[in-house]
């Protein structure tokens, strides 16, 4: 919740990732209310529409859900869902980047495994 926004990528993406990270770290618990878009807007001095876009991204993924008239809540099973998705992203994106870089440096698969086991 205290993290800061950077220029590196879209603000709404950073908002949704920040909430995800907070859920993973146990800063936001399941079935607990998350800050409203207006609260988020004030916290990061951003436009409320941008904050809403970030939150809605998580609603679409089923990580947050709306309780009419009360606010936004962390769904049960959200932690597991985020971890599963980030794991998948890790294998599909980060690991691929790593392997690509290794290949261009001429690092063999065995060398790589040896490094990891070290």
């Amino acid at each position: 919740m205290n993290q800061r926004l950077t220029d590196a990528k879209s603000i709404y993406l950073q908002i949704s990732q920040m909430i995800e990270t907070d859920i993973l770290r146990g800063i936001l618990l399941e079935e607990e209310r998350v800050p409203s878009t207006n609260e988020l807007a004030k916290l990061y001095t951003i436009n409320p529409a941008t904050a809403a876009k970030g939150v809605n991204l998580l609603v679409d993924e089923g990580i947050l859900y709306k309780k009419r008239g009360i606010g936004m809540f962390v769904a049960t099973g959200a932690t597991e869902a985020i971890r599963r998705r980030r794991k998948q992203e890790f294998y599909e994106v980060r690991l691929q980047e790593l392997l690509h870089e290794a290949q261009s440096l001429g690092i063999t698969k065995d060398e790589l495994i040896a490094q990891i086991n070290k």
Binding site: M1, N2, Q3, R4, T6, T21, D22, R25, G26, I27, L28
Partner: protein
Amino acid sequence: MSKLVCENLTKAYGTKTVLENLQLTLESGKIYGLIGRNGAGKTTMLSIMSNQNPATSGRVTLDGENIWENRKALDRICFSRELNISAESGLAGYTVKNYLKTAASYYVHWDRAMADRLLEIFELKQKAKLGKLSKGMLSMVTIIVALASKAEFTFLDEPVAGLDVVAREQFYQLLLDEYAETGRTFVISTHIIEEAANVMEEVIILDKGKILLERNTQALVDSARYVTGLQEQVDGATGGLECHHAEVMGRSKGVTVLLREDEDLNPGFDVTVQPVNLQKIFVALCGEEVRT
């Protein structure tokens, strides 16, 4: 190498203390940034360092000599004040030309050709009256005085106030040109910190009449970390380090850490570590503690 030194400067207006026992050493050949909140005492400090205001106690020396009413020392110092001109001030009817002429009659090393060139660059009319100029144009006039004075130690008070973004970049380019050519010492106060951060070699932070910090800008930025995460994790990672401006929200905590040389965050904690820019360091040091 020349040194301009403030020794135990104290300045009080009546019962209000503006500067308190201030110590500062400026070395020649550097660009200093002076940052501080409104009312921190920036203008007062620069005024005393240029003989424009007397100190209540303490003194300013240039190479060991007191600068007060010292013609020889003052020939090496120029403080181009911020111009705030109200309609009733006598200066409102003064023309740009007259203002520059007056400056030229006091600064011995005045560079007339440079002043003329800058007038052209800024598209300022010599015959324009100061009272008719916008805030940005007044800033340009003060920039011209500062640069054309050719003084070894030159102070600018909010030179970019009211300037548009293009003019601000232009100013920093002109400043760097002049610096590259002459190696003069500049002190620049500004509220637009990030734009100036890469220009200032040293940063001076003034807070409530005291020097809070005076350090190499890059070293300061490199030493700063913004640490966030679960409160216990953050406390673990930053325990025993110089922490500023901690903010707690529920179970979450964010804190700015200034690492000393050879220091690092305590390892083994699940936290997010982000770099901190100069502006955020300034807020962490001078902003109010804990806000929600």
